[in-house]
């Protein structure tokens, strides 16, 4: 395994003189909002279809009716050189067939005029692949990576400089006009694509600002006659009522993040907020976190969390949720429509809904928010100007907005093969479509996000906006909005170690009274270093 296997020969340790050496010393880095503003591409929105629900940023526009006819957004074929473009992107589902055995890839590649050869990797273990790939400096032509993985990598600005193309000259300011669809992407998302003073990635903008939602199986709770909890005690009662080990059913998957949010722990950049009297404090140090920890450890202790998730890392919460073995899980809102569409075919009456958030402490609830893109797409360095432009034209094609034929092909495949049309004209995926589509093109290039009604998930648009518009009122102000931050490695490292310890408390292996000591260790091993860095960053940005 990795570095462990690197060692080949032994050296006696005895004679070593320890004491006169330096420690590894990577630092954090931040690019200020003002520096970033100078690099951003001009934003030139294109609206092909008028929305039925015109939403305020950061919510997307909603469409209740599928448009017809669709418009062709791009006249020329992006591909010219005839050379294959290798891509890598994550996917949370079964691996689709590869190039040569996949009609969807053939169809899109024909349209692109060039062969894109995607390598689709399991999203849950993406970080392992990414780490090894970056360490070996061996990257594909196009790499799409989730922002939460990128954020964890120390010295990523160095990696960008060494491995990925500087896109500033192609995309900054007016230059982006050469790629009119990329120019439609929101400025908010571009803000985070800057490393080391260079525009280095194309963003996949998020369609909502919420990192988590607490989903529950409404069909099952309705059948059991259990209502939606509105207080933390009701959530506990919900857990008690829905857990039935004799039938192999437990109320919860891992939901610690959501519980923290209900207890109003801070969430900026992982959990920071301004302290009364100046400076920053991290969620671990707050009374709210202690309460959230206590509550969640009670859920574990009282046997409301599915034992498979307790027992093994391999346990898949969504799979158990789909099978009705777990009643409530935390997940991003992005999982909603896909889950409903897929499982409706398996389980009659399947109904996944997000629980409206509430405050465990009384008063208004708090909703964590984020504005950074879901994925970043990088282009390999040193491919040459023409090749880089060709790849950007492919990404431009991928960015064609809703209402275009390109969007439909990208998102649903070929009519009659990958989807059929419902009576209302909306595409409904076929089995082939579900098998062959895995974000191969949609994940490597973002589009202006939209929420669209389709016949396979009726009421989704209404449900989505009902939830998001009622939640957005409680959105936490992100202290670091628009600042590109690379956290100090010591800080990132100590977060991993501390989460291990907190896990011990959650599972009842350590008493809650140990929290004080855990926080002290966290502070000494990088927590305070992270605090000092972030405080300095805020001051430098005048906040």
């Amino acid at each position: 395994m990795g570095a462990g296997a690197v060692a080949g020969f032994g050296l006696g340790l005895g004679g070593w003189h320890v004491g006169c050496s330096k420690r590894a010393s990577a630092q954090g880095a931040a690019t200020s909002a003002a520096e970033i503003a100078a690099l951003l591409p001009e934003c030139r929105p294109v609206q092909l279809v008028l929305p039925d629900i015109e939403a305020q940023q950061p919510l997307p526009n909603g469409y209740l009716k599928y448009p017809s006819p669709l418009v062709r957004a791009i006249a020329d074929r992006p591909g010219r050189s005839g050379r294959t473009i290798k891509t890598m992107s994550p996917w949370w589902g079964p691996t689709p067939p590869g190039l040569g055995r996949n009609a969807f890839l053939d169809a899109v590649n024909t349209e692109l005029g060039i062969s894109v050869n995607p390598s689709v990797q399991d999203g849950n273990t993406f970080a392992d692949k990414l780490s090894a790939m970056l360490g070996a400096r061996d990257v594909p032509d196009v790499l799409a990576a989730p922002m939460w993985e990128i954020d964890k990598i120390p010295r990523f600005a160095d990696a960008v400089k060494a491995l990925f193309a500087d896109l500033t000259e192609f995309l900054s300011g007016k230059a982006v006009r050469a790629f009119p669809m990329l120019a439609t992407l929101p400025t908010v998302a571009w803000q985070y694509c800057v490393w080391g003073g260079r525009l280095a990635a194309v963003p996949f903008p998020r369609d909502n600002p919420f990192p988590w939602a607490l989903f529950y199986r409404k069909d099952l709770t309705d059948r059991a006659g259990v209502g939606v909890p509105k207080t933390i005690d009701e959530l506990y009662a919900f857990g008690k009522a829905m857990t039935d080990p004799a039938r192999g059913v437990w109320a919860f998957g891992g939901i610690f993040d959501m519980i923290q949010m209900l207890f109003k722990c801070p969430g900026s950049k992982g959990g920071w907020r301004k302290r009364v009297g100046g400076g920053l404090e991290y969620k671990f140090e707050t009374a709210e976190f202690r309460q959230a920890l206590e509550f969640t450890s009670r859920l574990f202790k009282d046997g409301m969390v599915h034992p498979d998730l307790v027992a093994s890392k391999g346990g898949d919460a969504m799979q158990l949720f789909h099978g009705g073995k777990i009643i409530a899980v935390q997940n991003g809102l992005g999982a909603w429509a896909g889950s409903q569409s897929e499982q409706s075919k398996v389980t009659a009456g399947y109904n996944i809904q997000p629980m409206p958030i509430f405050s465990a402490l009384g008063g208004d609830p708090l909703a964590w928010g984020a504005q950074d893109p879901v994925f970043y797409t990088f282009i390999k360095k040193g491919l040459g100007k023409e090749r880089t432009q060709e790849i950007l034209r492919v990404l431009d094609w991928c960015a064609a907005p809703f209402g275009s034929t390109e969007y439909e092909l990208n998102a649903y495949g070929v009519e009659g093969r990958h989807f059929t049309r419902a009576e209302d004209g909306s595409p409904v995926p076929t089995d082939l479509g579900r098998r062959e589509l895995a974000g191969q093109y949609s994940f490597i290039g973002g589009r202006v996000p939209v929420i669209v009604a389709t016949a396979d998930v009726p009421h989704f648009v209404q449900d989505f906006f009902a939830y998001t518009t009622s939640t957005i009122r409680y959105l936490e102000q992100d202290l670091f909005e628009g600042i590109k931050i690379a956290l100090p490695p010591n800080y990132s490292k100590t977060i991993i170690a501390t989460e291990d310890k907190l896990n011990d408390v959650l599972r009842g292996r350590r008493p809650l009274s140990d929290l004080h000591q855990i926080v002290r260790e966290w502070r000494n091993s990088g927590g305070d270093e992270g605090r000092a860095f972030l405080e300095k960053t805020l001051i430098r940005n005048g906040r």
């Binding site: 020969f9 050296l11 330096k22 420690r23 392992d128 990696a159 890392k313």
Partner: protein, 310 residues
């Protein structure tokens, strides 16, 4: 008699040609990568310069800084302690089992029955750890077969998959279930190599079953057993990776962190390559020392060991 180099080459070239691919393999995949160990003494930044080689050349030298960080970290010593306990526990409770099973198997008279038992006991070796652990969870976990039966009869729950204090027994049981059959192969070969006339002679001299086992069978496989024991000791700081990473959350870091998972969480995930290499070097150093010591002891007891200087 000393022949000239040319004459020896002339005589031995087919042998040399036959070893060349293996030697090349060893050189390319073992000795050259060994040079990468220099990063244990660097604040290694893989993104320096224009190529991977540049990164080696341009990263800062920090002497023993990585080792200091490592030795200062109590989590590292937890991992060392866990790894050594598991190794020792398995030496006592796992290592002898294949020998016993092999002796039992070799005494089964029916060839059909013997090959059936062999096939069945080899099979789990070819399952991946994910499968083995899923199997254990499905059988013994809180939602598993056993738990459901206990619940049905209102018996107290038997929590074995998430209990840190019995974790060492759990992982050893898993390892036994997976690999005990596979481990018999080499001992069966050694048993087959024992001259049957020795058994006949012992029987003629009036030795019973136990005496034959003690005076013929065990001495016959002793050198193989010692060889395997020494190799296992040299590997004492590796107890596997997947098995532990999969169950780490279930019982917590305190019980389940071994050196390889420590490297994964503290070095690979946060990309502290220098620290990871330092841990790897530490592991290799201890492994080498253990091999040398065990080999010395084997020599002292009149065994051949892994190698001999004579």
């Amino acid at each position: 008699m000393n022949r000239s180099l040319g004459a020896r080459l002339n005589r031995d070239w087919p042998l040399l040609a036959m070893t060349a691919p293996a030697a090349l393999l060893l050189l390319v995949f073992h000795y050259v990568p060994t040079l990468g160990n220099v990063i244990a003494f660097q604040d290694y930044n893989p993104f320096m310069g224009n190529s991977a080689l540049d990164a080696f050349l341009h990263s800062d030298w920090i002497g023993l800084g990585n080792f200091e960080t490592l030795f200062d970290d109590s989590a590292f010593w937890d991992a060392v302690r866990n790894t050594l306990s598991i190794t020792l526990f398995q030496l006592v409770f796992f290592f002898p089992l294949p020998i016993i099973l092999a002796i039992l198997l070799s005494s089964v008279a029916s060839a059909k029955l013997r090959s059936f038992v062999q096939s069945v006991s080899y099979l789990p070796h070819f399952f991946s750890w994910v499968l083995v652990i899923t199997f254990f969870v499905q059988m013994l976990g809180g939602a598993g077969l056993l738990a459901q039966e206990l619940r049905r009869h209102d018996l107290p729950m038997w929590d074995v998959m998430t209990n840190p204090s019995t974790f060492i027994i759990l992982v050893t049981s898993e390892a036994v279930w997976k690999d005990v059959g596979w481990g018999t192969i080499i001992f069966l070969a050694a048993l087959a190599g024992i001259d049957p006339s020795l058994y006949e002679a012992a029987a003629v001299d009036g030795a019973g079953r136990w005496r034959r086992l003690w005076h013929v069978t065990l001495p016959g496989i002793r050198s193989v057993a010692v060889l395997l024991l020494i190799l296992r000791l040299g590997d004492g700081l590796s107890v596997g990776f997947e098995q532990y990473i999969l169950q780490r959350e279930a019982v917590g870091r305190q019980a389940a962190e071994v050196l390889d998972t420590y490297v994964y969480y503290q070095a690979i995930i946060p990309q502290q390559w220098g620290l990871g290499a330092a841990a790897g070097l530490f592991k290799a150093g201890i492994g080498l020392a253990l091999i040398l010591i065990a080999n010395k002891i084997a020599h002292g007891l009149g065994e051949q060991g892994v190698y001999s200087s004579r």
